[in-house]
């Protein structure tokens, strides 16, 4: 096992920035009220970041231009359908992995 110091520090850093938002209201529990506009902005974050992460895979960066990664887009469609029908994380992951494996077998 070769866990580097840098990796441990990275994980520790991630732990810290996950921990602070969790405990902050418990520490400052008395009358801590965030402005309404900030709360509304925060409400958009989960959907925005998740869609950005999904969409990132659609594109492939060449030297000077961005192209579409058809394999990724192709795997996305059945994955989305399974997610919409089952609403299950594990089934969606299995569907995505199987689709990608089959497509690599056929097209690559």
């Amino acid at each position: 096992m070769t866990t580097t110091i840098a990796m441990v520090l990275l994980i520790a850093g991630c732990a810290l920035v996950t921990w602070i938002p969790r405990i902050l209201p418990f520490v400052l529990v008395k009358n801590m009220k965030m402005p309404d506009i900030v709360l509304r902005w925060l409400a958009y974050i989960p959907v925005c970041i998740l869609s950005a992460l999904v969409i990132e895979g659609f594109f492939h960066k060449q030297q000077s231009f961005v192209t579409i990664d058809w394999l990724n887009v192709g795997a996305f469609i059945p994955t989305l359908v399974v997610a919409l029908i089952t609403k299950s994380l594990s089934k969606t992951v299995v569907a995505g992995v199987v689709t990608m494996a089959v497509m690599r077998l056929l097209f690559v």
Binding site: L9, T18, P21, F26, S51
Partner: protein, 238 residues
């Protein structure tokens, strides 16, 4: 989550907290095992999978960690992205914290440290029903969820190690598939009248990501597009 029992109050015992956690455990187990497999496929070790589940203890953040690590993102980008992703915990803690004002600061830090989407869900339902939350009950709920998560992630990591050449089997796509599922589940919890607004924002996100990728690496485009599109969301909402 099902709440069929009609007792007037939930006893403030550790054991009752454990019992109330059980309906959510299948979720922790399936996501945790999936995370372990994805982590190994992304090139991190079983020990690192274990360390992430112990120290970070947040499914989405852990998946994003793997995605960014695989993409070769600099350390600062990983940490900033995870910070932004986990800002939603601030909202959950803000909702739950007022129930625990009579407990010590140390115990309050304990409650906050182990707050997740699921334990938040269970406690907010219970608080709505009872008008109060007990500390021992909360500990039972939290500790059960935390322990299950660590074991599930680590077992997933061990399973992931048995699979040689994960890319050939499409396992690298597990991460994206997980984000697709999380996105669908998140959209599901949004009020119906707001769905069109969110779908339009996702369309804007496609354009934003495509445009930004000309000028910056993927992980930075994810972060900047999230900030821009969330801001557009606030400005354009009715």
């Amino acid at each position: 989550m099902e709440y069929t029992e009609q007792k007037p109050y939930t006893p403030d015992t550790f054991l009752q907290g454990v019992k109330d956690c059980i309906p959510t455990l299948l979720g922790y187990i399936s996501i945790g095992v999936a995370f372990g497999v994805v982590g190994i496929a992304s090139g991190i070790s079983v020990f690192e999978v274990f360390l992430l589940s112990v120290l970070v203890y947040a499914g989405s953040a852990q998946f994003i960690f793997c995605g960014l690590y695989l993409a070769g993102a600099p350390l600062s980008a990983v940490i900033v992205t995870i910070f932004i992703v986990n800002l939603r915990h601030l909202l959950m803690s803000l909702t739950i914290a007022p129930y625990f004002t009579k407990y010590s600061m140390l115990r309050n830090i304990g409650f906050g440290t182990l707050l997740t989407d699921e334990t938040f869900g269970v406690s907010v339902v219970t608080a709505g029903k009872e008008g109060r939350l007990g500390g021992k009950w909360m500990d039972g709920l939290n500790v059960t969820a935390y322990t299950t998560w660590i074991v599930a992630c680590t077992v997933g990591g061990i399973i992931g190690q048995w699979l040689p050449d994960p890319e050939k089997w499409g396992l690298d796509y597990a991460l994206v598939a997980m984000f697709v599922a999380l996105l669908v589940l998140t959209l599901q919890s949004i009020p119906k009248e707001k769905i069109m607004h969110y779908l339009k924002l996702i369309a804007v996100m496609v354009v934003s990501m495509y445009g930004m990728l000309y000028f910056m690496p993927g992980h930075l485009a994810v972060l900047l597009s999230t900030i821009v599109v969330a801001t557009i969301g606030v400005v354009t909402e009715k």
